[in-house]
Symmetry: C2
Subunit: 250 residues, 2 copies
DNA sequence: CTTGACTCCGACGCGACGTCGGAGTTTTGA
DNA sequence: TCAAAACTCCGACGTCGCGTCGGAGTCAAG
């Protein structure tokens, strides 16, 4: 038999044969005058034993041991089974993630649960601000850790839709704040927004304190991305919400 | 932030960061006087967007496109989902194989269905012959192709257990044939075996002709491994079975 | 005697990092 | 204040199981 015949019989490529020779898994057969390898049936058997094992997931490095010590295989099979099960788990989780993404219509780099928090595309949010919102959600989504996004989304989903709808135009107004926005417009936005956010703020009060590191990072992002006006407005709104929440603290 | 802080926040290793720098996925941040990288929150966001995508199975090479073209992602997600599903299929098949092996108690390099055909360990088969039997089964198991082993095993399983039990001592006697076995012992083995195999032979007659290439390979294995006496005996038994099967053929 | 199919070998490529070694830097504690 | 500990840098090779390429030689057929 020549390389290609053996390879075809065993359902592998010629390159695979050469690889097995290189790592010493398959003994080098005698050569023809011209240097061609001539295999016989024992090589086929050896090769088949190898392919059957690799099909089970046995690494090539473990094969020398496996092939002539059938006892040592037992634990290996356990291990391989565990590995396969774990891998299946990961892949199933991945598929679930993909499905969630597809049904939520959100971009793939943020948790699908948070897609409720995104501004609607027809809200006319400037691109810069859309990116900001996106980055903020990415950050929040990760900093909340395992299951966090779901909880946060539940807060909003649980709230009455009306409130959300009342908030949307406010954030839209926030996103277009600039140095030439008239002062009374800014002031009214702060008022409206503070009162609009009040019910959410109450709900948030019942949840554990946010990780200070996370807050610091979020604030760093705000400072980097938002215009000075926006940053000032945001801080005032948050401060006033906090005061109303904890009026006792001086 | 230093490398390790960023890495920990994002749940990756420092080496991963360096890798992303190397392939241009993550921009190089400014350095400290001593040359240390100082990251900020925007690097964290960028990194998180990357890790979320890779968790879905997106290859790093596709990320530059994915990160700033959310539209191109759709088909990619389809593809990734298909890949994941296919991989899960393969792993499930592998686990099924492993389970079959463990319940059949056969070594991992031959199809579990064929374990019925193995000699019992207490039959006192010489090691050399046990190896021969094993190799033969490996060969047959593969040459029969998809589903073949199951069919073959069905032939034996369907047969009455008594017949199998009557055959076992005969193969045991066959395996210890040597140059100094008395002639009448050889002759009686041929007789006993031929009649013992007759019912199986009849059943086999109903199945399609064996692949001539496969037969040739099996015969090559016999010739290589069996002693001359054994090879002669085997051929006589097979010839006599064939004659009884097709008495019309001269 | 050419043509085409096949084989040989060496060497690099892939994907996503892990690991090692040696040199420099920053932080911490005595 | 200064040394030890912890951290960071970079380059380069290793992992795993082969795929792919290139150039040279070999074999069967026309």
């Amino acid at each position: 038999m020549l390389s290609s015949e053996l390879a075809e019989l065993a359902g592998v490529t010629v390159r695979t044969l050469r690889h097995y020779h290189q790592i010493g898994l398959l003994p080098e057969p005698p050569r023809s005058i011209g240097g061609y390898r001539r295999y016989d049936v024992s090589d086929l058997v050896r090769l088949l034993r190898i392919t059957r094992s690799t099909a089970l997931g046995v690494p090539l490095s473990a094969l020398p041991a496996v092939l002539d010590d059938p006892a040592a295989v037992e634990e290996l099979l356990d291990e391989l089974d565990r590995q396969a099960a774990a891998e299946i788990e990961r892949l199933n989780a991945r598929r679930a993630d993909i499905a969630a993404l597809r049904s939520s219509g959100s971009p793939p780099d943020l948790p699908p649960e948070l897609s409720v928090l995104r501004s609607a595309p027809e809200a006319g949010v400037p691109e810069e601000m859309a990116r900001y919102e996106h980055e903020q959600l990415v950050l929040i989504g990760h900093l909340l850790g395992e299951g966090g996004p779901a909880e946060l989304a539940a807060l909003f989903e649980g709230a009455d839709r009306e409130m959300i709808e009342r908030l949307e135009p406010l954030t839209a107004r926030f996103y277009v704040l600039g140095p030439d926005t008239p002062e009374d417009e800014v002031a009214s936005l702060i008022d409206d927004w503070t009162t609009g956010l009040a019910p959410l703020s109450e709900r948030l009060a019942g949840t554990p304190e946010p990780d200070p590191k996370a807050s610091a990072l979020l604030d760093e992002l705000n400072e980097q991305t938002l215009t000075p006006v926006q940053h000032r407005v945001l801080r005032r709104v948050l401060r006033r919400l906090e005061h109303e929440q904890r009026p006792a603290e001086p």
